[in-house]
């Protein structure tokens, strides 16, 4: 039934439905599975700590989460980032609230210029390199209290014993300011786990492409809508932008319905694909016992 309905919706209704679906999936993952991103990154830290100490790398729960999320990302693109990461969803919420307030007080939201954002997106690799190096040297544990993720996870768990976390709190507040001004600020510029994901060879089947020759000349609606300002790759190529979070906003923005994932047959049924991806991820999480 739902399939038939989808084809008879107006463009605006489709867009709204996709927006709601994403918000609901994000909310559920945020409430019930909020720790996957820190667990996966703890896997990265663990591997480098062991390497630095000359110890064996065991298949601990952190490493399993890391491996599974990396495999998932290779197959489906960064769907985890766009739909399931608690910190990413938190950023979306902060940005949404900021834009909503700007609308209410009739002020134009401040946006970071594109020349700045393209440079900032390299910072996440620096963040990753620094953390990994600290782990390798065995001094990472001395940075206890610096991580904004720790502060966020503690607040999420209603654990308010934040003494000694001053730097972490300051960083979290600064990040929230960034999140308000720029959609997906943290994911794009700072996230060390995102840096790992963005370097993976993502398969072209479920990631988004466009039929470039059908584009309206001079139209860049998708790039403008994109939180990462991506110009999508040509259909039929293996190219995938590492900064694409699979938020799929571009699909509904394109005036020619020109954007689809690698498997052409799924065109127009991206909702089904979204739900399947979310359910597969849920299944993996339950299997891992997160």
């Amino acid at each position: 039934m739902s399939k038939i309905d989808i084809h008879h919706l107006t463009k605006k209704q489709r867009k709204q439905m996709h927006g709601w679906l994403r918000a609901i999936i994000q909310l559920l993952y945020f409430l019930f599975l909020p720790s996957a991103y820190t667990a996966a990154f703890a896997g990265v830290k663990y591997i480098f700590t062991q390497l630095g100490a000359g110890e064996k790398i065991g298949l601990t729960s952190f490493v399993s989460v890391l491996i599974v999320l990396c495999l998932y990302t290779i197959v489906f693109g960064r769907f985890f980032c766009g739909f399931a990461c608690a910190f990413g969803s938190f950023g979306d919420a902060v940005h949404f609230v900021y834009v909503w307030i700007c609308k209410k007080i009739k002020k134009k939201p401040v946006k970071l210029p594109e020349t700045v954002t393209s440079k900032l997106s390299m910072v996440k690799y620096v963040v990753l390199a620094v953390i990994v190096l600290l782990c390798f040297k065995g001094v990472y544990s001395q940075t206890q209290g610096y991580s904004p993720w720790d502060v966020f996870s503690m607040l999420h768990a209603f654990n308010f014993k934040l003494g000694g976390y001053l730097l972490g709190i300051v960083l979290l507040v600064l990040i929230m300011v960034g999140m308000a001004l720029q959609e997906r600020f943290f994911c794009r510029f700072l996230c060390p786990m995102g840096a790992v994901f963005s370097l993976l060879p993502m398969l072209p089947f479920f990631t988004l492409k466009r039929e470039r020759e059908q584009c309206i000349k001079g139209c860049s609606a998708c790039t403008k809508q994109c939180p990462s300002d991506i110009g999508l790759p040509e259909a039929g190529t293996l190219d995938v932008s590492g900064d694409c979070f699979q938020c799929q906003k571009c699909i509904d923005t394109c005036p020619r319905m020109n954007i689809h994932c690698g498997l052409q047959g799924l065109k127009g049924n991206e909702v089904v694909l979204t739900m399947i991806r979310a359910l597969i991820l849920l299944g993996l999480f339950i299997w891992l016992g997160i």
Partner: protein, 150 residues
């Protein structure tokens, strides 16, 4: 097109390196084990003596037999444990409830249990990466052992 293959090759290289690294360490571990066993055999008597000594030590600081309960603050809530004491020493530690802990973190933190049993004391290092949950287990065991020492 090219980036995809570069990334794929890099990933394969990294995985191969890590597996290779682990294999080398496993082989080295085996060598160490053989060396250790040989050494143990040679000094069998000495070893026996030391075992007896350590048993006496353990007996000196022994706990009262029984199943002792303890609880402490973990990451998101309270962790409850049960410590089994048999013949004056800790034989088993089980986690009764840790509802507010995250699965991945808790299973990592559980690695502290064999360490505590080996040391026969809750005074051991916490598990890095799962500091909150393992500290919770450690403190809960300490509380149970306080009961057992009375």
């Amino acid at each position: 097109m090219k980036t995809f293959w570069v990334r794929a090759v890099n990933l394969v290289l990294i995985i191969a390196l890590l597996i290779g690294y682990n294999t080398v360490l496993t082989l080295r571990d085996k060598d160490d084990q053989i060396a250790k066993l040989t050494a143990d055999l040679e000094s069998a008597n000495l070893y026996k003596q030391s075992v007896m000594q350590s048993q006496e030590d353990a007996a000196g600081s022994s706990y009262e037999d029984g199943i002792w309960k303890g609880e402490a603050q973990g990451f998101g809530g309270t962790i409850q444990v049960e410590v089994t004491v048999e013949g004056g020493s800790i034989t088993d530690i089980s986690i009764v409830s840790a509802e507010k802990e995250d699965g991945a973190y808790l299973s990592m933190a559980e690695d502290i249990i064999p360490t505590i049993i080996d040391a026969q004391s809750a005074d051991v290092d916490t598990i890095s990466g799962a500091t909150f949950s393992s500290t919770g287990i450690k403190n809960a065991v300490a509380q149970a052992l306080e009961e057992a020492a009375k």
